[in-house]
């Protein structure tokens, strides 16, 4: 069963805009929600990726683009070239930011990893739909979501995610300092 969020990501990748600007090797990152009035949007980051030399995984680079779409209809509202905009200090571009899979998930069997991803994406459905209806999140649900996001998000990309959506990450992955 495919979540709405997963479908949305596929849809974004298939848009002519993305076809033109996003190489297919790029990985899509975890979505970040945004609400404006009654409307909910999804920020979708794209991450540069290359097969590692030993072919054991993918070398990850900082996100290079952010596509924002309307959650209600999937239409794009913004394309942000992060290399142009650079929302974080410069000099990071060519440095490898991480590796996929990162150690925590590398040890999972593939099928388990896939089902964990599907679970998190399904939770995103709930998150985004609740934002639309302004329904409250239960603490238990929030804990589950946090744990799942913590596990699946590439640690090396965390600073970039935080720079892109500080409040969202502070809520679910609060920084102690």
């Amino acid at each position: 069963m495919e979540s709405e969020t997963a479908k949305l990501i596929k849809l974004v990748r298939a848009m002519p805009l993305a076809q033109q600007l996003i190489p297919m090797e790029a990985l899509s990152g975890w979505p970040m929600p945004l609400r404006r009035g009654s409307k909910v949007y999804v920020h979708l980051p794209f991450i540069g990726a290359n097969q590692t030399k030993d072919k054991s995984g993918m070398a990850l680079f900082p996100p290079f683009a952010l596509v924002t779409v309307d959650w209600s209809n999937g239409l794009p509202v913004q394309y942000l070239n992060l290399r142009f905009q650079h929302p974080w200090p410069e000099g990071y571009w060519d440095n490898q930011a991480g590796t996929f899979p990162h150690p925590e998930i590398a040890q999972l069997p593939k099928t388990e990893y896939v089902s964990k991803c599907q679970e998190l994406l399904a939770m995103y459905d709930h998150l985004l739909n609740s934002l639309v209806k302004r329904e409250a999140f239960t603490p238990e649900w929030k804990t589950r979501f946090s744990e799942s996001l913590r596990l699946l998000m590439e640690p090396g990309l965390e600073p970039y995610y935080r720079a892109l959506s500080p409040k969202f990450f502070q809520t679910f992955l609060p920084q102690s300092s």
């Binding site: 979540s3 298939a14 190489p23 297919m24 990985l27 896939v114 409250a136 999140f137 502070q170 809520t171």
Partner: protein, 683 residues
């Protein structure tokens, strides 16, 4: 054929067992021949050329096929500007061929340096003078001998590097023509397809990026309709396969079976292997199996003669068999003579072929001359005179490919005719007794026909087919030899790099001569292009005069070059054919004499010795029979016509899309006053 890869593995292991047997019984010559066969089959290459316009997804498709994202550079703004080949090797090795034609150098580079040479970004206007990229990789997908050729776009836009692309095409074992699902095939693409279809019909049309559009089916319908017009001979039987390289590469990360299914890459692989098996794959297998049959017969026949000698107690039967063998030997001796009928048959056949090819050459040259006049009348070309030389260059190239293809066909037919008329085509796998080798024996039908004695023996249908395919296939120039030499004589090694010990089959010689003539045409064309680019004249009439001063001698030079090359091909070819046939006759005769001697020697044995002899022979004869049976089975397997079903474009997406439905959102929970309403998302 059921499955080329599987049949190939079985054939290789059969060869191995035969080698062990030959070693154990110290048949040195047999060991060598079997080893050679094993090697040839192992190294036999299958050429798959991936062609199509820029940006359609060729490089991505190869990466997906090899399951190696990022192997060939792909990006929105990266354009491949070089022909690259990739083939199996024990370790990864990347070599660029650099320098002017005729003065190429090889340089080993790292994988991460590939973009520096292969892309327009890393190597603008090819300032590095790279001519080709040759890669070896221990990739499992390549293990069965595939050579994949990634080409730059071959549309109207890109004239640079098309020489090498074109050189591959005439003899490619398969052409994957790639276009994407964003648009139906363009007129340019259709023109290209039409042109190359004169040289090679082994097309698979691949429609990529089906993940990106919703209506790829209508694109396929439209492509099918358009292709039916440019390829009228094929009806609408050509395969069109929709794929998504990105889904297939995504699968490598997600391991989500849905991605794999969406990619539809398995349909493409299936279609490709089916095509390859029907063509060169079959020839590779049959060549190995017929050679195995011959070697086994070589060992077996003298043993069989001894066995027969022990069996024939009747004096009359003994003499009858003995004189049969003597007659055969006598007949083979006659075939060895210089005035033997087949020698005339060969000479005349070759001369006729040469005459016919020369006639055709003149006709074609006339056409080219007429076309050059048309070009000179065209004001567009007066703007850009070197373009004329480029167009004529391609005309000469494709003329030579067509002529050499004709030559190989005719030579193949001639060879088969001779082998049939001399009785050299007997099936060595069919021995039950010595009867099969009785050339000129009364059970077969001997006819005197214009001085040629024709022997007709009953033949197994599959054997006749196999012999036919092996001989004719052997004469086909392979893309490999052509390109190897096109890259220049100094690069002799590059051919080796690509083809291993492909062996001195006649086709290799045709390919080599063809390669060198294409190289020569290229040299003349470069000269003409230079000269044409100097023309400053704006006045149309004067400009035309200047252009023809360059173009006319250019055409004459090429004409002489092509004629000399054809002559050279024919001479070399007839020499190889003669040697080949002489060798075969000599081997048969030696075998016959050896068998006769064994027979006579065995007859002299005492009753007791004979009994012991029979006990000795039993095991080896049984073993050899088993080899023959296995070889026969595999040859039939290889010959089996693949089911002629046309591939209907399956819809990889439908099943998964229908099944998908969203999770029903969890029911809202009653909440406390301090509840989280998601204010953190507001912005």
């Amino acid at each position: 054929m059921a499955n080329f890869q599987a049949t190939k593995q079985e054939t290789l292991s059969l060869l191995k067992s035969a080698i062990n047997f030959a070693k154990a019984s110290s048949h040195k010559n047999a060991v060598k021949r079997l080893n050679d066969s094993h090697q040839h089959l192992l190294e036999g290459k299958l050429f798959v050329v991936v062609a199509g316009e820029f940006k359609q997804g060729k490089s991505s498709l190869i990466n997906a096929f090899l399951r190696e994202p990022g192997l060939f550079p792909v990006d929105v703004d990266i354009a491949t500007n070089l022909v690259s080949t990739i083939t199996y090797g024990d370790a990864e090795k990347v070599t660029v061929v650099l320098g002017e034609p005729g003065k190429e150098k090889r340089k080993e580079i790292r994988r991460s340096d590939i973009p520096d040479y292969v892309t327009e970004q890393g190597n603008q206007r090819n300032s590095k003078q790279a001519r080709m990229l040759v890669m070896e990789s221990p990739n499992a997908q390549l293990k069965e001998g595939l050579i994949l050729v990634d080409t730059p776009g071959v549309g109207g836009l890109n004239v640079q590097h098309t020489d090498i692309t074109y050189a591959y095409i005439p003899n490619a074992d398969s052409i994957l023509f790639v276009s994407d699902a964003h648009a139906p095939l363009s007129t340019e693409e259709l023109n290209f397809i039409k042109r190359i279809s004169q040289h090679c019909q082994n097309f698979i049309f691949v429609v990529t990026k089906i993940d990106a559009v919703s209506n790829y089916k209508s694109i396929i319908d439209s492509n099918r309709e358009k292709l039916a017009q440019v390829l009228p001979e094929t009806g609408d039987k050509f395969p069109i396969i929709p794929v998504s390289s990105s889904a297939s590469l995504a699968y490598l990360d997600t391991q989500d079976p849905e991605d794999l299914e969406d990619s539809n890459l398995s349909s493409l692989e299936q279609e490709l292997w089916q095509l390859l098996s029907q063509q060169r794959g079959k020839i590779l297998l049959l060549r190995a199996l017929t050679e195995l049959g011959r070697v086994v017969a070589d060992i077996r026949t003298p043993l069989q003669a001894e066995w027969e000698a022990c069996q024939q107690h009747d004096r009359e039967d003994q003499t009858k068999l003995e004189s049969k063998l003597q007659d055969t030997s006598e007949r083979l001796k006659q075939l060895q003579g210089n005035s033997s009928a087949w020698q005339y048959q060969l000479n005349e056949g070759i001369q006729d072929t040469q005459k016919e090819l020369f006639r055709e050459l003149s006709r074609e040259i006339e056409q080219i001359k007429r076309r050059s006049q048309d070009y000179m009348e065209d004001s567009r070309f007066l703007e850009d005179p070197p373009q004329i030389a480029r167009l004529l260059e391609t005309d000469f190239d494709s003329m030579m490919s067509t002529l050499s293809e004709k030559l190989s066909q005719k030579a193949g037919n001639l060879h088969v005719e001779i082998v049939n008329s001399t009785g050299l085509n007997m099936n060595p796998l069919a021995i039950d007794s010595l009867d099969w080798r009785n050339l000129g024996e009364d059970s077969s039908e001997v006819r005197e026909l214009e001085g040629l004695s024709q022997v007709k023996a009953p033949q197994a249908d599959w054997w006749t087919k196999a012999v036919d395919m092996v001989y004719k296939g052997g004469f086909k120039a392979t893309a490999g030899t052509t390109v190897g030499t096109l890259l220049g004589g100094t690069l002799g090694g590059i051919a080796g790099l690509l083809f291993g010990g492909a062996g001195a089959v006649p086709g290799a010689q045709i390919g080599m001569a063809l390669g060198s003539v294409l190289g020569g045409v290229k040299g003349f064309s470069d000269g003409a292009k230079d000269a044409l680019s100097q023309i400053q004249e704006r006045n149309q009439i004067l400009a035309k005069r200047e252009i023809s001063k360059i173009i006319n001698p250019y055409i004459i030079d090429n004409q002489l070059l092509c004629k000399a090359a054809l002559e050279d091909m024919v001479t070399k070819l007839s020499r190889t054919m003669r040697n080949d046939l002489q060798q075969q006759i000599k081997r048969e005769r030696e075998l016959c004499d050896r068998s006769l001697r064994s027979f006579q020697k065995t007859l002299k044995l005492s009753q007791e010795q004979m009994i012991r002899k029979m006990a000795e022979l039993k095991g080896p004869l049984q073993q050899l029979t088993d080899f023959q049976k296995a070889a026969e089975k595999l040859a039939m397997q290889a010959l089996e016509e693949a089911e002629s079903d046309t591939i209907s474009p399956s819809d990889p997406a439908a099943s998964s899309a229908d099944a998908a439905s969203s999770d029903s959102p969890t029911t809202p929970q009653p909440v406390a006053a301090s509840a989280d309403y998601g204010d953190w998302a507001d912005g």
